[in-house]
Symmetry: C3
Subunit: 141 residues, 3 copies
């Protein structure tokens, strides 16, 4: 079990602008604010979404385009370092007008209708991603 102990700092309450690209806005925010470690929780709605699923055998990403208006029933993510720069990693659960859910890794081209997000900043630990050959991902180590 990898572990790091951190201390909670300010909580940032965020609402990205309507029609903006959700992931790009979060990336820009943490970069501009100099946040290297944090935890994200959120909900809201998007006007379209791109989700990704990671193929654990082939080590490839499959993209899923959802050209629909969707509720975001859960957003969970974090900020940590990759090559010394903050990296935002987010998973979302979406629901359509029938209540049916869609989930995956948040990718670019997911457009905000309204999102309400808390970014809990953390300090006192350096959490960095390092390439991990076994999974093909960059993981905390």
């Amino acid at each position: 079990m990898y572990k790091a102990e951190a201390t909670a700092g300010l909580a940032h309450i965020l609402r990205p602008a309507a029609e903006s690209d959700l992931l790009k806005e979060l990336e820009k925010y943490v970069r501009d604010a100099g946040i290297n470690l944090g935890w994200l929780s959120g909900m809201g709605a998007v006007s379209r979404a791109t989700l990704r699923y990671y193929d654990q055998v082939d080590h490839e990403w499959d993209d899923l385009q959802l050209e629909q208006h969707l509720e975001v029933v859960s957003l969970v993510g974090n900020v940590s370092l990759l090559n010394g720069q903050p990296m935002v990693h987010v998973h979302v659960t979406l629901s359509d007008e029938e209540g049916k859910c869609w989930g995956g890794h948040l990718a670019y081209d997911t457009l905000v209708f309204n999102m309400e997000i808390m970014l809990q900043t953390l300090s006192g630990a350096v959490v960095s991603r390092v390439p991990d050959p076994a999974t093909g991902l960059s993981l905390w180590r």
Copy 2:
């Protein structure tokens, strides 16, 4: 990007009474406790649920009645001000006996079987909702 920076206060660990109306209980709790800003995370089970989906074009809510016993696999929400009073905004993800998920905006008439919720209180910022003509919702500004 709208933003507000807040400081974490006490965390309230909550279990609404069995058979109570989940949203009403949360609303009453924050009103009685005088909480104007906070973040909610939770899980549990409900004996029936009412979810809402927001029509982003017509600016209308569609209700979905689920007359089933369901796990609550995620509850994400927040408390902020609307017309100077605390307003609770919650999205949930539910699952049935086949593991199938349902999601949406939490509405009245969702009845608690057992719910376990953390309300992280926040202070140092005033976060208020204001009517937003573009979406038809009351959004942070």
Copy 3:
């Protein structure tokens, strides 16, 4: 409404080892670290999962075995006391390569591909589970 007020302590950023049993790892971690109260938030991916659904009438658990590689789009849980020992209670939402979601109570034999979890430790309150005949569960009281 049962309530307890607690103060946030250190946040533990965790990555259980690949191929480990997610629930067992969390249980071992809180026991070894002496954590009696906390809140869990996480996401990642698993190589197989076992979820449980609680039958609210018969008071029995139904297991659902998912022999698939799945994204974990949400993990929500907590640590509190049962018979004086820390007990970990977790619900997860999973998604497959089509984006379809599965949800339920996390059971043993859910194997980590990569998981990223924050355990927010809490102190200042004792939160204990007590057998509750009405639901057949051990609930906070």
